[in-house]
Structures are given as structure tokens and as C-alpha cells.
């Protein structure tokens, strides 16, 4: 009966806006932008239904470069603003882009609550372990000892782990990738998009002006194979140049250990299989750090639950169905009334 217009699928470049990109030449943000344009094309996004919301920071310039709806808001508040957008119109496809300062320093509380409420949106946290836009101060993800304009003797703070925080906050989708992982990143973004609820994606992003090479210990070509593990649900947790290494649970110590398959009697079957619905496993994966353990990338955790805005709408639908013609005159006349006669 209906004739469905075949919608023309857009190409990555169709999602690029006409605005001049204003990041430092060589910034990792460019690669992420590229991955995102590709992702939008591949998921068949429509421009008018796509909304990018950001806070303030280099990362938060992102919305200007996408030819969808975009709102560059204020520092730290993007998740809260995005929540309002979803409550107004749950059909919009909302992406939130924040930096590590924006999302975890000033904005940490909104991050906690948007995650536990499970509002349906993709939250991309560009972690460069530094405040880029304000010229290089250390951030809450900066490692202890980081020297910066505000910590000339080195930071003495224990950094927050973005993924561990997201899991501790009740997040139901937690993933990680790296700006330069050209194929991995779009795949992770697609998974995040497919997840209904709040999807949290930490993207390690190189700030070449203020923190160049801070992730080199696991992103540099020479070490990547041994220092990264790309996890996938239902697949063994193996890594290494020839995928000859794996993760094993030490049940006595309740901790993960890296083993070499074939050495010390370790068999392939001893290697853990990734279960992305296991929060404990995800928490252990999130905590892994070089040099002893590889950095876990991919979807660490995904265990869907009803999203907040859908539950709210369901309550409203239920309530309005009980009162189909919501008569506002009746509302005002509820309870005791009396008439004063002329």
C-alpha cells in the first residue's frame, strides 16, 4: 500500500559540515572525526535525526564538524543537556562528545547519573589525559607524576580510570578504542550506537601539543600487539603478535594474569573467553595496565536494560491511556470546588 521511498544512503563526507576544522594539525581528534563520519554513513544515519551534544574543550568542538544538529554547550554538562533532549524527543539519535576534563572532572556527576539512569545515547569520551583547550594542565586521568603548568613538580593524584568509573556507576555499555585504530574504532562506535541505553566509549586520543605520545606504551606500532588486547564477546581473550598470549583467571588471587599459550603447561582452553555481560570480568579488564597486562580494547561490557527515557514514556503512555482526552478543565476542577452564585 505504502510506497516506501528508497532513502539514499549518505556517504561519510555527506556528514562533514562546512565549518573549518580548528584543531591543531596532527591532533588525534581528526582521526576520530573521520571514524565517526564513516560510522554515521555505515549505520545509515539521517542528518536531521542525529544530534551531537558536547561540553567545552578541544574535543567538544566536535559538533561543529558534523552536518547534523549540534549543540556545543557548557563545560561538563553535556550529559544533562542530552538527557533533556531525549526526554523531549526520544526518537532523536543523540551522541555526546566530551573530553576527559569535561566528562570526568567538572562533569563527573552528570556522567555517573546518566550512566546509572541508562539514558539512550552514545557518550564518546576523548581521553587525552590533559586539558587541551586551556593549555595543558593535568586532568583527572593524568598519571601520577604528570608535570603540567599546574603541577610543575608532578601530579600527586591517583588518576580515575574512565572505564572503571563507568562500570562502578552502573553503566551498561562500556567500550574502548584508540583514535588511530582506523577499523576498530568505527566498529566500536557501531556497537555503541546499536546499544539501547547509555553507551560509554573511552577513546584514547593523542594531544600532540600538550601530551604527545602519552599512550605510546600501548599504541606505538612496536608494542601494540603485546600491549593491547582486542576483546570480543564469546571469543578467547588472546593477544600478542601471533595471538600466542592470553588472559587467565587466577582464582585463588581473583585476578587476571597474562600467560603464553604453550608455555608452563598453559593450554588454549585455560584462556578465558570474553563474556561482555559479566561486570566483574569487565571491571578486571578495565583495570589492566601495561607493562604487566595489556590494555583491553573493544566492548568490555554490554548488558542491556530498559532505557530511562523509554521507561518514562511508557509511564506516560500508560497514564494517558487511562485518561485518553486529558481534559485540562477537569484537572483544574479536581477535588473540592464550590460555586458562588450571582
Amino acid at each position: 500500500m505504502h510506497s516506501v521511498m528508497p532513502v539514499e544512503k549518505l556517504a561519510p563526507q555527506d556528514f562533514a559540515s562546512d565549518q573549518e576544522v580548528r584543531w591543531c594539525p596532527g591532533c588525534g581528534d581528526y582521526a576520530i572525526l573521520k571514524a565517526l563520519l564513516r560510522t554515521l554513513a555505515e549505520i545509515g544515519a539521517t542528518k536531521e535525526k542525529t544530534v551531537f551534544i558536547s561540553g567545552i574543550g578541544c574535543a567538544s568542538r566536535f559538533p561543529y564538524y558534523i552536518s547534523s544538529y549540534g549543540f556545543h554547550t557548557i563545560h561538563g554538562r553535556a550529559p544533562a543537556i542530552a538527557t533533556g533532549v531525549k526526554l523531549a524527543n526520544p526518537d532523536l539519535d543523540v551522541w555526546v562528545v566530551v573530553g576527559d576534563g569535561d566528562g570526568l572532572s567538572i562533569g563527573g556527576n552528570h556522567m555517573l547519573h546518566v550512566l546509572r539512569r541508562n539514558v539512550d545515547m552514545q557518550i564518546l569520551l576523548f581521553n587525552n589525559e590533559v586539558y587541551g583547550l586551556t593549555k595543558g594542565q593535568y586532568s583527572p586521568t593524568s598519571r601520577m607524576g604528570t608535570r603540567s603548568p599546574s603541577t610543575p613538580q608532578g601530579s600527586v593524584e591517583n588518576p580515575v580510570s574512565a572505564a572503571a568509573f563507568a562500570l562502578g556507576s552502573g553503566g551498561r555499555f562500556v567500550a574502548r578504542s584508540v583514535d588511530t585504530l582506523r577499523d576498530h574504532l568505527p566498529e566500536v562506535l557501531k556497537r555503541a550506537h546499536a546499544h539501547r541505553g547509555a553507551s560509554f566509549v573511552e577513546i584514547f586520543q593523542n594531544c600532540l601539543v600538550y601530551n604527545d605520545g602519552v599512550f605510546a606504551d600501548f599504541t606505538a606500532k612496536e608494542v601494540a600487539a603485546d600491549a593491547q588486547i582486542h576483546v570480543a564477546h564469546g571469543r578467547p581473550l588472546v593477544f600478542g603478535a601471533d595471538r600466542g598470549r592470553g588472559l587467565r583467571l587466577n582464582p585463588g588471587a581473583i585476578e587476571l594474569e597474562a600467560v603464553t599459550i604453550g608455555e608452563d603447561g598453559v593450554r588454549e582452553a585455560d584462556v578465558l573467553v570474553h563474556d561482555e555481560t559479566n561486570r566483574t570480568l569487565a571491571t578486571m579488564l578495565a583495570a589492566m595496565e601495561p607493562p604487566h597486562l595489556p590494555v583491553a580494547l573493544g566492548v568490555l561490557y554490554c548488558d542491556p536494560a530498559p532505557s530511562y527515557e523509554r521507561s518514562v514514556m511508557a509511564q506516560i503512555d500508560e497514564a494517558t491511556s487511562r485518561l485518553p482526552n486529558g481534559d485540562l478543565n477537569a484537572l483544574l476542577r479536581q477535588g473540592h470546588t464550590w460555586r458562588v452564585e450571582a
Binding site: Y69, A88, I316
Partner: protein, 615 residues
């Protein structure tokens, strides 16, 4: 069933019910107000309760009071000094007696005046015995004992039975003013439908209190009164608190605009009532969101407005402070937004359950940089309804945040309200922009200077906005100096232009010129209006001007004030509207400032007027 006792006719009476937080004073006060309204009187009520949830029994800081002023004439305030004080225990007497008018009537439950409770209230000797009540008329009744007797067959425990003391008292007071008991009886049956034994006991106590009046020769003692119905405009009425009226005004405002209402808030006294009322209206499609804090609440509202709904947030002073940065974003993004501030006594946490009008400066000036927006204020509980609708209208027409100032007094006070016909209210349907041709997100309407409201989801209007300065024409980010000047002026001109769209300032009472204008805003309406009325009746040359639109001010206000020799501005702050008027008109405006957490008394304003007029 009119009783036949002789009754003194009164034009108006002020009764104050006071007892422990757990004594149910707010409840019987509310019930008494209801039957009084049904009897056709005009009325105003005021709840005065402690910050503590349930303070230890018998303490002075645990006293909860409910005051009602009702009469056959138009009632404008909940009354200055009560004529009648009902004190359920020594603490209530101790705290409240001071307020009673000389010669007023004190009704006490003498059964509650035990040595222990006297001590708890800080009495060294029993005021019922030591002549401490000499200035007043007293009715000492062992309400406790009489209540226990009345409900002895109910099977309630002694503790439960004593909880019916309030109903016994309500019965007595109902008798005194010739009030019908039936609505209260019906209400009790409904409320305790699940526990009929409680309903029965409460009804028994109510009846017993009423019968006590009939039988104890109270009429002869001069305690029976009648208050004739007031001459109210004919129509259907109900009582409303400011909190309710505001909530409903927002719902109706959104309806008139044709918008979905998305209300985000973080609980705070005295604003929470608006959240609670709206949370119960999901059947009307109202979305409420209890955010993690005030910042998230306003941000979610901004997000909702950005996405095409009517975003509203509500709070009190400390919460408004937290919203200041995000308000700046709303000003810069030029999105409609309504922010309700139910003011309370500060600074800081202050006295959270007490009233004050001290956020005017914060509302008008409390943001970084030049961030003009619109501020309106409500003068009474029922006025909250209209004020809310006006705020919605302005917010969407001018694409601007609008702050609505209410206060603790208004939020909690109740008064009769003639219910409007929603279908008869003027609509102001929103037109979201849909036409891509010629669209630029900041290209302003020539008349209103409002930018178009282009909502995500609209094909062809994809665009980016934010808090950075924007080019006047293209809306793109711009650091151009001349453009910033132009945009700053445009933002200011847009808000200033709202003054063309509001009624010229009128005079509530009195001449358009003369010796003294008393200029008020917000909840001082009642006392100013009564004070000016009283003194005009005496022939004094004084007028009452009451301002709803705080910013921008009405265009004719400067000229109007210029027509008076003196201008006096009573405010429950240290002089905030005064600052505004002085600066705007260079008029020698003088403040009358009260910052005690309590509303003005009529007499205070009268005295100030007399001083100014040398009368």
C-alpha cells in the same frame, strides 16, 4: 442544620492553629479553610512550619502553625495579629502567644499542660495559673481528656486516640463559626476508607468538639460567631496554594503554546511542591525529571527546549545560584526556558522554611557578563497561575529564559480561586521553523528580535549552536569585535522590547498621582493592598502600584512614579527593587525593608505610610 444559639456577626476573623509538628495542625487548618470557603467567605491562609521533619515532641522549635483569615469582605492577607489562637500544648502557647492581638481569645488544651511539657517548652511556672494570660480571653478545655472519652469505644490505643485531639478541636472551632461539619465527615470517610475504625474515631471526636460548643454555654460566653458570605465574583471556585497554581499554570501555558512540557527539578524547600504536583500529571503528558542537582535540572530543561519542548525548571535561591552558569548558556543560545524561583530566607541555607523576596537582584543581575533575560513575579497563590502562563508566552515568543519569582509565603499559602475556563484562554501556538530556504539559526525576527526555533528532527535545518559568540547573520562562531557589540546590543534590545508587549503599569488602588505611591511586587500585595485601602478609607492620599514585570519594567513606570511626591517600596529584602527603580528612573525611591522571614503586617505598612504623610 443551623443551630439556634445567638451569634455575634463579624466582618473578618483571623484564627491560628498551633501545636506540635505531629499534632495535625496543617491538616485541620486546611479542613477549616475548606469548609470556610464552602460557606462563601473569602479567605487567605498561611502555613508556618519548622525546618525539622518531626522535631521532638513538645519543643518550641517543633511548633507548627496554620493561620486563616476569613471574612465577608475581600480578604487580602492571612491576617496580622490573630484574633483567636488555638494552642495544643505549652510550646505552641509560648511561641505563638506574642502574636495574638491584645484581648484575643486563647483556646488551650489544658490536659496537655503537664509539668513535663511545661518544662520542655521552657516555662518555669504554668501560664494558665500564673496570670500570664491576663491580657487575653481564654478558653481552657481539657481537650485530651474529652477526646479520649469521645473515642473510647473505637478500640484505638491511647496514643492513637489522642491523635484525634485535632479533630475535636476542629469540631469546636467549626461550631464557634457555625461551620458545616458534613464535608469534613465525608472527607474523613474517604481518607480512612481502608481503616474505618480511624474514620469513626475522628468523626466521633469532631462531633464531640462540636457538641461541646453547643452544650457548654459557650454561646453565652460570647464565643459564637457568624461570618456572612463575601461578595465574590460568581463562578466556580476552589482553594489553591501557590505551588499548585504555578504547576497548573505551566501545564496550561504549555497547552496554550501547543508544546509538550518537560519539567526538570531538584527538590528544595519551598519549591518541591511544584515538582510533586507535576509528577502527578503524567496522564496529561507532562514529563517530570528529578535531576541529580540544580545544574542538571536546568541543563535538561535547556536540552528539552532545544529539542522543541517547553523546558521548565524550578528551585529556590541557592538552587538558582547554581543555575547561573547554565542560564547564561540559555541567554546565549536564545532558547525559551522558564525558571521558577520560590524565594526563601537567606543568605545560604538561611531559614529554609521562611519567606523572603531577596532573589530579585540575583534574578536580574546574577550571571556572568551582560546576560539579559526576563523576570516576572507572582503576587498571590492564585496569581501564580497567570504569571506562569505569562512566563511561557514571553519565553517562546522571544526565545528567552524567563525567571518567575514566587516565595515561601505564596508557595504555601492558600486562597480561593475562581477556576478559569481553559478553552477560553488566549492561545499562542508555537511555530517551529521548518522552512529551509533562507534559514540561519540567528537571523532575528524584525519585530521581536527572536531567532527562529529550529528543532532537531526537522529535515534541512541541520545547524550548530553553542555558547560562543555567533555571527549576527550566519550564526557561525564569530570573534569579530563589531559583531560582538552588535549581538550584545541585540540581546539587550530583544529583552528591552518585551516592555512593548506587556500591559502598561496600572494603579491598583488610588489616584494616578498624588502624595505617596506605595510600590510593591510579589507577595507584599496583600498587606500593601489592605494597608493602602484602609488609609484611603481614612482619606489619605496614597496609591498602590504593584509590579508584575520586574525586568524589563513597564514602559510607563518611570512617568507614573514621577507623578508622586514620595515613592515607598516595601520589600522583604534590604532594598532590591528599590535599587532597580532608583537606577532606572533616578527617582528618590525609599525602601521599607523587612527581613525577618515573616510577611509584612498590614499595620507595619500603615505606620510607614502615616509617617511619610505625616498623618
Amino acid at each position: 442544620m443551623p443551630s439556634l444559639v445567638p451569634r455575634e456577626e463579624l466582618e473578618a476573623v483571623v484564627v491560628r492553629f498551633a501545636g506540635d509538628s505531629g499534632d495535625g495542625m496543617q491538616l485541620i487548618g486546611g479542613r477549616f479553610a475548606q469548609v470556610t470557603a464552602l460557606a462563601g467567605n473569602d479567605l487567605a491562609t498561611f502555613s508556618d512550619f519548622p525546618a525539622e521533619i518531626r522535631a521532638p515532641a513538645g519543643t518550641t522549635f517543633g511548633v507548627s502553625a496554620y493561620q486563616i483569615n476569613f471574612g465577608s469582605r475581600v480578604i487580602k492577607t492571612s491576617g496580622d495579629a490573630p484574633d483567636v489562637l488555638v494552642a495544643m500544648n505549652p510550646a505552641a502557647l509560648r511561641v505563638e502567644l506574642e502574636g495574638l492581638r491584645d484581648g484575643g481569645l486563647v483556646i488551650v488544651d489544658s490536659g496537655a499542660f503537664t509539668e513535663r511539657s511545661l518544662h520542655k517548652a521552657g516555662y518555669e511556672s504554668n501560664p494558665l495559673a500564673d496570670g500570664g494570660l491576663a491580657k487575653y480571653r481564654t478558653l481552657e478545655i481539657d481537650v485530651s481528656k474529652l477526646t479520649l472519652e469521645a473515642v473510647k469505644d473505637s478500640g484505638l490505643s491511647r496514643k492513637e486516640a489522642l491523635r484525634c485531639r485535632n479533630m475535636w478541636t476542629l469540631g469546636l472551632v467549626s461550631w464557634m463559626y457555625g461551620r458545616d461539619r458534613q464535608p469534613t465527615i465525608d472527607w474523613l470517610h474517604e481518607k480512612f476508607a481502608a481503616r474505618p475504625e480511624l474514620a469513626a474515631a475522628n468523626v466521633a471526636a469532631l462531633d464531640a468538639g462540636h457538641a461541646f460548643g453547643e452544650t457548654a454555654e459557650l454561646a453565652e460566653a460570647g464565643h459564637a460567631y457568624t461570618v456572612e458570605p463575601a461578595h465574590l465574583t460568581p463562578g466556580l471556585y476552589r482553594t489553591v496554594t501557590g505551588g499548585e497554581a504555578l504547576a497548573w499554570g505551566l501545564v496550561i501555558g504549555a497547552h496554550l503554546a501547543g508544546l509538550k512540557l518537560v519539567f526538570s527539578s531538584y527538590p528544595i524547600t519551598p519549591a518541591s511542591q511544584v515538582l510533586h504536583t507535576l509528577a502527578n500529571l503524567r496522564q496529561y503528558g507532562v514529563v517530570t525529571f528529578q535531576a541529580e542537582d540544580e545544574i542538571a535540572a536546568i541543563c535538561a530543561s535547556i536540552g528539552a527546549s532545544y529539542a522543541g519542548s517547553l523546558g521548565v525548571t524550578s528551585t529556590s535561591g541557592p538552587g538558582l545560584a547554581l543555575k547561573a552558569e547554565a542560564l547564561g548558556l540559555a541567554v546565549s543560545a536564545e532558547l525559551p526556558l522558564v525558571v521558577v524561583d520560590s524565594q526563601r530566607a537567606g543568605p545560604s541555607t538561611g531559614m529554609p522554611t521562611k519567606t523572603e523576596q531577596s532573589d530579585l537582584h540575583q534574578a536580574v543581575f546574577g550571571r556572568s557578563s551582560d546576560s539579559p533575560l526576563v523576570v516576572v513575579s507572582a503576587r498571590s497563590p492564585s496569581d501564580c497561575f497567570e504569571t506562569a502562563i505569562e512566563a511561557v508566552r514571553i519565553a517562546i515568543k522571544y526565545m528567552t529564559p524567563v525567571i518567575v519569582l514566587s516565595d515561601t509565603y505564596i508557595a504555601n499559602a492558600a486562597e480561593p480561586w475562581m477556576i478559569p475556563d481553559v478553552d477560553g484562554l488566549p492561545r499562542f501556538p508555537v511555530k517551529h521553523r521548518t522552512e529551509p530556504a533562507g534559514f540561519h539559526p540567528y537571523l532575528r525576527d524584525a519585530a521581536t528580535l527572536a531567532r527562529p526555533w529550529a528543532v532537531p528532527g526537522t529535515p534541512g535545518l541541520e545547524h550548530r549552536i553553542g555558547g560562543l559568540e555567533k555571527d549576527f547573520a550566519s550564526g557561525d562562531i564569530s570573534y569579530d569585535p563589531a559583531n560582538h557589540q552588535r549581538m550584545t546590543e541585540a540581546r539587550a534590545a530583544k529583552i528591552a522590547g518585551v516592555a512593548d508587549d506587556i500591559p502598561p503599569q496600572g494603579v491598583e488602588d488610588g489616584q494616578q498621582h498624588g502624595r505617596l505611591a506605595v510600590v510593591g511586587w510579589g507577595s507584599t500585595y496583600g498587606p500593601i493592598s489592605r494597608a493602602v485601602g484602609n488609609l484611603r478609607d481614612e482619606g489619605l492620599d496614597v496609591s498602590h502600584i504593584h509590579i508584575r514585570h520586574i525586568w524589563p519594567l513597564p514602559k510607563n513606570l518611570g512617568d507614573l512614579l514621577g507623578c508622586f511626591e514620595h515613592v515607598l517600596v516595601p520589600e522583604m529584602n534590604t532594598g532590591q527593587l528599590t535599587t532597580l527603580l532608583r537606577s532606572a528612573y533616578l527617582a528618590p525611591v525609599e525602601g521599607l525593608n523587612k527581613v525577618s522571614g515573616q510577611p509584612f503586617r498590614i499595620a507595619e505598612i500603615e505606620a510607614a505610610i502615616r509617617t511619610r504623610l505625616g498623618a
